[in-house]
């Protein structure tokens, strides 16, 4: 007879797909943030599941210019292969003025705020240039659409860090992108906040219930392509979490395949070590990431 059991991954997938479809039905101006990392790549895969092979909204990448070059190559390869409506935004002024941490002018948190949070805020609002891939030439061109995005799909997970464990699936942000953590909307029985006052927007978090291990188990099950930076290339090191190269360090690991990563997380050396331990900005000051997130950081 037909097998009718739902595994944990099946349930996580069904819920994420449900959330993506709710978002697509309710938001005219919807966008998905793609950081090129494993989480948002799983999210992209889930979107293709939800919409039967299509991705009916643009993907936005915030390019700090300090991303590891392999990430950009991988982004553009998938964008072409999967015919994605690919857009990137950038804080070009700060980069031109060399107002960055790697160039020694500002500290880590200020750099994150400028190159990521500010760039994201203005790219979403449409008042900074957006660059969109022309699929005929394969090059990025200035996008003429300056409409603000009112629904923003983001691949954050509750297990990553304290303030993320408090998120809603549909989380409102006011005009200034501020997050009022103390007064979040109720969410019950799969009814989410899909109504919003003019000028505000919503962040949508379909991956909240997934853990790092779930992500890798799913990548293995679905055979989702991820960048090879996650694997040991022979020097006994790999990235566990991807960010800007000046602030993200590789971890000691000899995992060369997805399966080896799954094993490493399940019972191996990383079973009890937080994923973001290689990310410097989390440690600066108390509640560094909460502060960033209140201001609109992902």
């Amino acid at each position: 007879m037909n097998d009718k059991t739902m595994t944990k991954l099946d349930s996580l997938e069904a819920q994420s797909v449900y959330i993506l479809r709710e978002a697509y039905r309710e938001f005219k101006s919807l966008v998905m943030l793609w950081s090129i990392g494993k989480d948002s790549t799983v999210l992209l895969w889930l979107a293709r599941k939800a919409f039967f092979g299509h991705v009916p909204f643009p993907l936005v990448h915030i390019d700090t210019s300090y991303k590891i070059p392999e990430m950009i190559a991988y982004r553009d390869r998938l964008a072409k292969e999967w015919k994605l409506n690919m857009i990137y935004g950038q804080n070009t002024e700060a980069l031109k003025a060399k107002q960055t941490f790697p160039e020694g002018k500002i500290d880590r948190l200020a750099c994150c705020k400028s190159l990521k949070t500010e760039a994201l805020k203005h790219t979403l609002a449409g008042d900074w240039p957006r660059y969109r891939m022309n699929h005929e030439t394969g090059k990025y061109e200035l996008d003429t659409n300056k409409e603000p995005y009112t629904g923003v799909i983001v691949g954050v997970r509750a297990d990553e860090e304290g303030s993320r464990s408090k998120e809603r699936y549909f989380s409102p942000r006011d005009r200034n992108n501020d997050w009022d953590v103390g007064d979040q909307p109720p969410e019950l029985w799969n009814q989410f906040k899909t109504d919003f006052a003019p000028g505000t927007h919503l962040r949508i978090h379909p991956l909240l219930d997934w853990t790092e291990l779930n992500i890798w188990e799913y990548i293995e099950r679905e055979n989702i392509p991820v960048t090879k930076l996650y694997f040991d290339q022979g020097d006994g090191k790999r990235y566990r979490s991807l960010g800007c190269y000046p602030c993200t360090s590789a971890v000691e690991s000899t995992a060369k395949t997805v399966h080896e990563i799954v094993e490493e997380l399940r019972a191996g050396k990383f079973a009890n070590i937080a994923e973001r331990s290689g990310r410097a900005q989390d440690k600066d000051g108390g509640g560094g990431l909460e502060g960033l997130r209140r201001d609109g950081y992902m």
Partner: protein
């Protein structure tokens, strides 16, 4: 693959919920390496005593105030299964956060302070567990160290609380005495309380049972959306949604409710490729159908041969209110049930309950924040729903007020008969409307035609407006008193300030109906067009225009199942012959009776 269960920890503020979880995480080795040390270090730096709760209360405000503000999730494993532990705030101000947490849970642990005893939110939270339908519940009497592990204190609280639970029909799986801070009865049974020989918290969690999957039940497939990615070269028309109960197989005869449209399932779609010819409860999926049925997102697909949900506009339900503004009569709210969204009004308050005392307040005119109430609701359009005890997934709903989810409810039973809001409105209008002494007949003789509302319906971009204007011109040249009302949705509803798609659509129909009633009462042949209107909306428009006549001309495919259409025109019908056919229809229906043109 391992089983997973969501467990919520609830109880009155300061009774030690976060401490219990922190201890549980620490004692089972579920914390990330270095986390415990980091929190201890942080406490030392800020010269405050270490507390296990700090492991959970991640927000700055939470740590400084020493309370949990919002629900947090932590992940934790036992030998038996994986858990997501949801820490819910105990302060009344954050009740909506607690409900958000609890609504995700399959099991609950309710914490009561042995020293303080049962408090208002111990009861309120217990009541909410019963409301939310959580069957697995364990009661932990915490801080036993403060009462010297005295068995009598524990037994006292147990007796009192059991009595309360009996009143609300909730049967806990067990009562556990514990000292969370000290780790007593958390993982192993405590030596400090040798008189207690049942289960530790960890063992109690593992004793909870998962609800049986409901794919043997009746099919409920709320249509979430309908996809056709034609521009991407995909011709499939896919009805997407999650199977909430039951299962569906290729070849099944299905019926959509409330529209009652029927078809047969031809495929179950999936990406990267379709693998099964069936889908079952819990799966987010999509199906294609044998015939082109036109339904909107929100309808529930059911099997033609199975017991179907109720369809109607009135039902009785229990609700709890979280809104800043009270829930009142005479105001349009939005109801969301499964994927349906419709305007709703509060039609009657039967009883308001104080959930912390279980005392009921009669004759209360409104439902205030944190109240629980039994009410009768009326939707302005029919919906499909089940009783909560039959199929929960399609028997519970939320109420949206001013962009916010302000209430949650569970349906107890449908309510039949009685007058509808709309019927009452038309009756009142007739009563207070002083009719002119010039009767419709006198007007018809004078104007040489009867008054009528002509509504052009059909999908968008079928040339309805062009046709409507041409018709107006033809009738005008014939010497008839006619008027084309080309008024958009935005204009009619902007005065209400609502940008809600669901509410504004019904408002548009309501206002159009009122306008039409005035203008047809004045004897005009009024012409208007409305796109994508469904059976119920058309009937509402006709009803509001009554007692005056309405003629419906549909352009393009006719998607109505029940509403009467007087004339159907092909989408590609030339304007001139379209106008001629409408004029012919007007003549046949005696609007342009030759009798008048003496």
């Amino acid at each position: 693959m391992r089983e997973q269960m969501n467990v919520v920890i609830v109880g009155h503020v300061d009774h030690g919920k976060s401490t219990l979880i922190g201890r549980l995480l620490a004692d089972t080795g579920s914390l990330p390496q270095g986390k415990l040390e980091a929190v201890r270090e942080n406490c030392k730096r800020n010269a405050k005593p270490f507390e296990y709760a700090f492991l959970l209360d991640a927000l700055k405000d939470e740590q400084s105030q020493g309370i949990t503000i919002d629900t947090a999730r932590s992940f934790f494993k036992s030998k038996k299964r994986d858990y997501i532990i949801i820490d819910a705030p105990g302060h009344i101000e954050f009740l909506k956060n607690m409900i958000t947490g609890a609504a995700r849970a399959e099991a609950a642990v309710l914490v009561i302070d042995a020293h303080e005893g049962i408090k208002e939110n111990s009861k309120r939270h217990g009541y909410m567990m019963s409301f939310l339908g959580i069957k697995n519940i364990t009661i932990c009497v915490n801080k036993m160290d403060l009462v010297h592990y005295d068995r009598e204190v524990f037994e006292d609280i147990k007796t009192q609380y059991e009595e309360f639970l009996r009143e609300i029909n909730l049967k806990p799986t067990n009562f556990i005495p514990l000292a969370a801070r000290e780790g007593e009865n958390i993982v192993e049974l405590s030596t400090k309380m040798p008189w207690y020989k049942e289960l530790s918290v960890l063992q109690a969690l593992d004793h909870f049972t998962k609800a049986a999957p409901n794919h043997e039940r009746e099919l409920r497939f709320p249509v979430q959306d309908i996809y056709k990615f034609t521009a991407q070269g995909d011709e499939r028309r896919i009805f997407a949604g999650r199977v909430e109960s039951g299962s569906v197989t290729v070849g099944d005869d299905v019926i959509f409710l409330p529209s009652k449209k029927t078809s047969r399932v031809t495929s179950v779609e999936a990406f990267p490729k379709a693998v099964n010819n069936f889908a079952f409860a819990g799966q987010s999926t999509g199906v294609t159908l044998e015939t082109q049925v036109y339904v909107r997102p929100g309808e529930i697909m059911c099997k033609a041969k199975e017991k179907q949900p109720h369809t109607g506009t009135k039902f009785k339900a229990n609700i709890f209110w979280m809104g800043k503004q009270p829930f009142v009569k005479g105001k349009n709210y939005k109801l969301k049930i499964a994927t349906q969204q419709v305007p709703v009004v509060l039609s009657e308050i039967i009883n308001v309950l104080d959930a912390s005392e279980l005392s009921s307040i009669q004759n209360k005119p409104q439902v205030d924040r944190h109240d629980v109430a039994e009410c009768v609701f009326e939707t302005l359009k029919p919906i499909a729903f089940d009783d909560i005890h039959f199929i929960p997934e399609t028997g519970r709903f939320v109420i949206v007020d001013n962009y916010e989810i302000a209430g949650g409810g569970i349906i107890l039973a449908p309510v039949y008969a009685q007058d509808s809001v709309l019927g009452q409105h038309v009756k009142n209008r007739e009563f207070s409307w002083t009719r002119s002494d010039i009767t419709p007949d006198k007007r018809a003789m004078k104007y040489q035609h009867k008054a009528v509302l002509i509504v052009l319906t059909g999908q968008v971009d079928t040339g309805k407006q062009v046709l409507a204007k041409a018709l107006e011109e033809t009738l005008f040249k014939m010497g008839k008193f006619t008027y084309f009302l080309g008024v958009s949705n935005q204009i009619l509803t902007s005065s209400n300030g609502s940008n809600d798609r669901v509410l504004s659509r019904v408002q548009h129909i309501q206002q159009l109906g009122e306008l039409a009633h005035v203008l047809t009462d004045a004897g005009l042949i009024l012409i208007t067009s409305v796109s994508d209107i469904d059976d119920d909306e058309l009937n509402m428009l006709k009803y509001l225009n009554s007692p005056n006549k309405t003629i419906v001309v549909n352009v393009g495919p006719n998607n109505f199942t029940q509403a009467e259409v007087d004339l159907v025109l092909d989408e590609h019908e030339p304007t001139a012959s379209g106008v001629a056919k409408i004029v012919d229809c007007l003549t046949k229906s005696l609007v342009l009776d030759p009798e008048y043109s003496i």
